[in-house]
Symmetry: C2
Subunit: 225 residues, 2 copies
DNA sequence: ACCTGAACACCGTTCAAGT
DNA sequence: ACCTGAACACCGTTCAAGT
């Protein structure tokens, strides 16, 4: 949660309307702007405008736009449901954990796209990675492979969330892909034609299936069954 | 480098030096610029400059920058080694195929990053998808899951190629990640500390292992083994 | 038809000057 | 210390005018 500098209760009178700037205030407002305008409509100047100031003001608190996006991502990841205890078996906990991670990225337009171009190193990201390593170890994933496995799971969930939220956000993109598959020669690409509907289907089931695939694959340690 | 106004040696006769523009010429030159300047240094104006013209000229042949990037990606994918025949077993062919796909994206700085933000619908992309569906069918992957599986494989290979080529291209990024892991509290994140070296290791072995994991997982149809 | 100079509407970032 | 107007050095894209 982190509480920044405690509310300084400057209170009414003077002009309390203009909230004092701080990293936390900027990050929170930036996430609002991202949610409202989407990834393609997001930029520093709009964040500044939403804060009723000029873009130059933000550089007192931020190194650059990259740092802001990293802070936004970590802040958004606070919403991920962490595995609570030992109630469930490790496998169910792992899946629920990752699906929550998927949902957080998928449901907020733009956050998934930021995640794709930002390697997260904030406290919430570290907590997620640590818990993931623990669950894999509990599941008996070979020690040396647990690190690669955790990375594989996060990378894939991030990528599919970005792809699918992008399709939802930009219906034009989806229509173009669909049209390209429709127009593909059915003689030259018979399998694409046969799998047409499945290829462009998406949503929750697909992410769920993919997680099963990766988890099962890891349990065999990357060797042939 | 940039050489200001080019020495105007208009040379022999008319001025045949200035190669006639075309989509192919633009795409080829754009890939050169991408290779030379990297993804972050790539833009339309530099492509135009490399073609010795102004940016407006390109709009005779291109809808916009997105279309150029889609064409660049498909052009780069021509270098992927397609599975030749029935010499090898399907599994070896599948892995060699995907590793070639990985290498093409990984070895060209920037191409992998373009691939992440561009859904490929060009002829080379379609050919790759078609062949992939065929190999999975040959391997006995359940019909309805082959489409999702092909997409899963391509998505993951693309994502890991983009991540790793980005680390190589921007050592600063890598150093920052390494520093973040180093500085993480060893009491709060003991597993991250224990897996430190493996987490930041990369390269070929990692992609190879990940492919084994996904292929093995798919053979179980996403059900518990 | 193709090409292009010039302009438009933006960006992120810096800097000098204010408080 | 914080804030800000103004400017800088870019972008992608459009448009009118040329050939």
């Amino acid at each position: 949660m982190k509480e920044g500098t405690p509310r300084t209760i400057v209170s009414r009178r003077n002009r309390p309307a203009k909230a004092a700037l701080s990293r936390d205030v900027i990050v929170a407002k930036a996430l609002e702007v991202l949610e409202r305008d989407g990834f393609s409509g997001f930029n520093l100047r709009r964040v500044a405008a939403a804060l009723d100031t000029g873009p130059a003001s933000l550089y007192v608190y931020l190194e650059n736009l990259d740092e802001l996006q990293a802070l936004m991502l970590d802040s958004a990841l606070a919403a991920v449901n962490l595995p609570k205890g030992q109630d469930l078996e490790w496998r169910s906990e792992l899946k629920a954990f990752l699906l929550s991670y998927f949902r957080v990225l998928y449901e907020r337009p733009g956050v998934a796209q930021i995640a794709l171009s930002t390697i997260p190193t904030g406290p919430n990201s570290l907590r997620i990675l640590e818990l993931l390593l623990g669950l894999l170890a509990e599941g008996g994933v070979e020690n040396a492979k647990a690190a690669w496995g955790a990375d594989l799971l996060l990378l894939y969930v991030t990528a599919i969330a970005a792809e699918q939220s992008n399709w939802r956000a930009q219906k034009m993109v989806f229509e173009r892909v669909k049209a390209a598959l429709d127009n593909a020669s059915k003689e030259e690409f018979p399998l694409i034609a046969a799998h047409h509907d499945t290829l462009i289907s998406g949503g929750h089931d697909r992410a769920d299936w993919a997680l099963e695939v990766i988890i099962n694959g890891m349990l065999f340690g990357g060797k042939q069954p």
